[in-house]
Amino acid sequence: MTKPIDTSIYTAVTDAIRTEAQRILSEGQVSAIVGYAAARRKGSAQPIVISQPDDAAKLIFTPACVNNLAVYLTKAKKEIPKSGKIGIVVKGCDLKALSGLMGESQLKREDIYLIGVPCAGVLASTVQPATELTTDSIAPKCTECDAHLPTGCDFVPAQTPVAADLEKKYAAEITRLEALTPAERWAYWKEQFSKCIKCYACRQVCPFCFCEQCLCDRNKPQMVDTTPRPAGNTAWHIVRAMHLAGRCAGCAECERVCPMDIPLNLLNRKMAKELKELYDHEAGFEVLDKGPLNMFTEKDDQSFIK
């Protein structure tokens, strides 16, 4: 049954973000802030970079503030000024990505001013941004969220999000797929991957896809076919999931932005589940020196090796 999600705190959160942004910009604590602002369409939001205290009034937080802004602090985005400290508005899931980037020496904690957001959930899709946030329209990642309130930030508004108890959408879907035969799973993914048009939106929004030269853009050697045909698409999505294994923070941006509605985060969640079972690794707020695939123990499972 569809029930609305309580997002009543978002107005107060917006006010608190504005006040804080205004303060840190006018005090010169940061040179710029990456946040969300409203756009033309009703209920819509888009990322914005502000550097003037007056622009703080443009910042908002609504259920349409879906983006993981961490992508703007990676070296893939050269357009954001990297001089001085930068403020960034982060939800819990976004903060996990930032922690991951710090662990991979892409960012330094002292260069960032974290404005955490108490978050009750955001929309699954912003194709129609004015959609009300309900148990149906909420992003699947939010149904499994354990980070409604980010910790370790420089500033977090005082409001406490009311986290609804929701059916865990990914867990249920992964269980369903795991119960199928390999041939049935192959058929499922073939249908999904066949829709892919290689727009690379999944790669471009991913905070962890910061390579300046993507393996899949190379042609010497060409490891992955660049053509948007079922063969090249399948290879691309397998490679993407593998390169994110043990790194993905679960922001599910890949899945949200896919214009062809491919459930990409299922692959990432499956990998996360395996890494939890095999190496007890989970993406969190803690900055780890090494990810689970950059380290080993002598006792690692090798039951699959002859």
Partner: protein
Amino acid sequence: MQKFISEQNLNTLLDTLIAAGTRVVAPRMNAGTPLYEPLTSAAEMITDQLPRRSAKEAFFPVCEDIMTYEKEGQKVTVTDIDPSRFPETVLVGVRPCDAVAIPVLDAVFSWDYKDEFFLERRKKTTIVGLACTTADDACFCTAVGLSPDETKGSDLFLTPLEDGGYDCRTYSEKGETLVNRYPQLFSEPTGSKAVPLAEPQIEKFDLKKVKAWLDENFENPDWDSIATRCVGCGACAFVCPACHCFDIVDEGTEKAGKRRKNWDACGFSKFTNHASGHNPRDQQPKRYRNRIMHKFKYYDDKFGQTLCSGCGRCIRVCPVGIDIAQIVEEINKKDI
């Protein structure tokens, strides 16, 4: 020619065409996503949703082979794909914003080089347009001077009627041929009222004024504030009914392989990357600027047409909420 066709007869028409071996392409659901795809039965057609990708792919596929090669010893055999054997196609339920873009693309595909792949498919395809009765706030066809019942580009145009069925008008010889082939399915106009058309809530742009601003503002700090947020994916270009850039790649082994033509997008950082490593569009705002410039200035300069039909797809799919209608609206409001 003006006729009436009932919903049932339209389905019969499509099923008859399919049975006769004609490829019928129409909006249908594919794993939860509405797309223009070949139908296996008329019942699959959906008329209440705008497909996620535009109808351009019926002429300009996502990916197509253009030749194959094979090497045996020292002998290399190259075989061209023969476009004369592309299938006869009827494209049904095409939204006006998709249909109008096709003749716009004719200009570039038959300009200095005649793209036989595009032109052959064009020759063999009959386009049946469908008027829009619903719009969302991303729709802006009226802002670029079109309308939800624009018939340009359609050979046959269907307008839903309040009492059911469609008013059906022909706009080309191809359209008339289709009607004349199955006259029993069409009847004389009933005089029933049309379902009210969609009304996109946006003011009309002065495209001349927009172009005049673009003419003077290749360098402008506004591009940074507009497009710093752009993450450089190709989603906007790939869902666009008018974007038409492509890339050619060879795939295969030393022994045998194919040369293929893929969609490409000016948003990609590699799009203008030179072999030397130099990239004239080295930052995302410069790449995004090209998208706006190409649509509202360059194409106009070259062919006297605008490369945007206001379908709003790029607005809906943009990962970071970039709204082309908002950008052009703001340019339109500037004092120049």
